[in-house]
C-alpha cells in the first residue's frame, strides 16, 4: 500500500509504477480517484466522456460504461480536505509516483 497526499487543484492525474489514476468529481460533488485503464481493452478512461443521460462515464475506445455506483465501488480510498486529498494506492510502498495535471475529458460538465 502507498499513501500519498496532494493538492487536487494542482494535480489530477497520478502515475504509480505501471498504473495510472485520475481524479473525477461526480455530479453530487464528491471526489474519487479511479484507475485510468478500462477493464475492457485498456482504453484511457480519463479521455472518455460523461453521459448525462445515463449518468455514466463512457470509455473513449469501445464505449464501455461505468455508472456512478461502479465508479464509487472501484475508486481508491480517498479523503478530501480543503486544498488536499489523501489516497491509498494498491501498489508497493516503494513505487515511484508522479503527479500530473491533465485535461480530464471524462469530467461531468455540471461539476
Amino acid at each position: 500500500m502507498l499513501v500519498v497526499t496532494f493538492d487536487p487543484e494542482q494535480f489530477n492525474f497520478i502515475t504509480a509504477g505501471e498504473s495510472s489514476y485520475f481524479l473525477l468529481r461526480l455530479p453530487d460533488g464528491s471526489l474519487l480517484l479511479h484507475n485510468d485503464t478500462c477493464d475492457h481493452r485498456g482504453g484511457p478512461l480519463h479521455l472518455g466522456h460523461w453521459d448525462d443521460l445515463t449518468q455514466c462515464l463512457v470509455c473513449p475506445w469501445h464505449a464501455t460504461k461505468y455508472s456512478e455506483k461502479v465508479l464509487r465501488n472501484r475508486g481508491t480510498p480517498l479523503i478530501e480536505r480543503p486544498g488536499r486529498v489523501t489516497v491509498v494506492l494498491d501498489v508497493p510502498s516503494s513505487t515511484q509516483v508522479q503527479f500530473v495535471k491533465k485535461t480530464i475529458l471524462a469530467q461531468p460538465a455540471s461539476c
Binding site: 481493452r41 485498456g42 473513449p60 475506445w61 469501445h62 464505449a63
Partner: protein, 296 residues
C-alpha cells in the same frame, strides 16, 4: 486451403485501413483510428491481430510467413485485399473505403464465430482459434463504431452527396465477398471431383486418339528443376502425360499424381500447377470451351 486464403489479408491485417489514418482529417479520422488500435493490439505485439493469426496457422502446421502461400491465393481472395488498398490509397475514394469497412466490420463477427466452430470441428481442441474468437467480440464493437462514429458523422459533415459512394463501397465489398466465397467453394469442389474429372478425361482423350474429336494441343516439355508456379485458364483443359511423372497441384496439400498415359480435366478458372516428379516430363494440354460437350 481456407486458412491460406485468409492469410492473404490477415497476416498484414489493417495495412490498407492504416492508409486512412494518416494526416489531419478531423474527428472522423480519430474515430477510425480507434478501430486500427484494436487491429494493432494496442502496441502489444502478442495481441496484434496478425500475430493472433500466425498462432492459428502454427497450430495447423502451416507456415506463418507473410504470403508464404501466395501461389495458392485465388484471384478472388487477392481481389478483396487489393480492393481495400485500392480505395484506401487514393483518398478521393475515401467514402467507398469507409462504406466497405463498415460492412466488413459488421459481417465479420458472425463469420468468425462460424469459422471458429468449423475449425474446432475439423482440428479439435489443438487449434488456436483466438484470432477468430477475438473478432467475434471486437468486431461487434467495430461494426457499431464504424457506422455510428465514422459513416454517420461523415454524412452529417459532408452531406447526402457522399452517400452514393458509401453505398457503392458497401455493395462492392459484398460483391467481392460473394465472388470469393463462390470461387473458394468451386476450388474445394474441384478437389473432391478428381475421380470424375479423370474419368471424363479418359473418355474425351480416347475420342481424340481415335480421331473422332480433332483437337489441337499445346506440347509441354518440363524438367524437375523448373520453378513451380500456379495458373488459371479461361478454358477447360485436358492434361495428358506422354512421358515421365508429374503432380497436378490443386492446393497447398492437394496433389494428383499423373504418370505416363494418365489424363485429367482441369475445369476453367480452377487454380492449379504442375510439379515435375521425374527428371523430365512431356505432356499435352488440350483446351475446350466446355469439356462436357465433348463427352458424347
Amino acid at each position: 486451403m481456407r486458412l491460406t486464403q485468409l492469410a492473404c489479408d490477415f497476416l498484414s491485417e489493417a495495412s490498407a485501413s492504416s492508409r486512412n489514418i494518416l494526416g489531419k482529417y478531423g474527428d472522423i479520422q480519430s474515430q477510425f483510428f480507434k478501430i486500427v488500435i484494436d487491429d494493432y493490439g494496442y502496441g502489444v505485439h502478442s495481441a496484434k491481430h496478425s500475430t493472433l493469426y500466425e498462432n492459428t496457422l502454427a497450430t495447423c502446421d502451416l507456415i506463418s510467413e507473410v504470403h508464404a502461400y501466395w501461389k495458392f491465393y485465388l484471384s478472388s481472395s487477392l481481389a478483396i485485399s487489393n480492393y481495400y488498398h485500392y480505395v484506401s490509397r487514393d483518398h478521393s475514394k475515401y467514402f467507398r473505403a469507409i462504406g466497405a469497412i463498415a460492412v466488413a466490420e459488421s459481417m465479420f463477427s458472425h463469420t468468425c464465430r462460424k469459422i471458429s466452430q468449423m475449425l474446432h470441428t475439423v482440428f479439435g481442441k489443438s487449434i488456436d482459434t483466438y484470432y477468430f474468437d477475438e473478432h467475434v467480440h471486437i468486431d461487434a464493437h467495430h461494426g457499431r463504431m464504424a457506422f455510428e462514429h465514422v459513416v454517420a458523422p461523415a454524412i452529417e459533415r459532408y452531406g447526402n452527396g457522399v452517400i452514393p459512394d458509401i453505398v457503392r463501397g458497401m455493395e462492392e465489398l459484398q460483391l467481392l465477398t460473394a465472388i470469393a466465397d463462390e470461387d473458394f467453394i468451386a476450388q474445394v469442389s474441384f478437389f473432391d471431383a478428381v475421380a470424375d474429372l479423370k474419368t471424363a478425361a479418359q473418355r474425351i482423350h480416347a475420342r481424340i486418339v481415335e480421331g473422332s474429336l480433332p483437337q489441337p494441343a499445346i506440347t509441354h516439355l518440363a524438367t524437375r528443376s523448373q520453378p513451380f508456379i500456379t495458373r488459371v485458364s479461361n478454358q477447360d483443359q485436358l492434361y495428358a502425360v506422354q512421358s515421365g511423372t508429374l503432380d497436378l497441384v490443386l492446393g497447398p496439400d492437394q496433389t494428383v499424381r499423373l504418370d505416363r498415359g494418365d489424363v485429367m480435366i482441369v475445369p476453367r478458372q480452377r487454380l492449379h500447377g504442375t510439379a515435375i516428379v521425374s527428371e523430365e516430363s512431356w505432356y499435352y494440354v488440350y483446351d475446350f470451351e466446355d469439356y462436357r460437350s465433348c463427352l458424347s
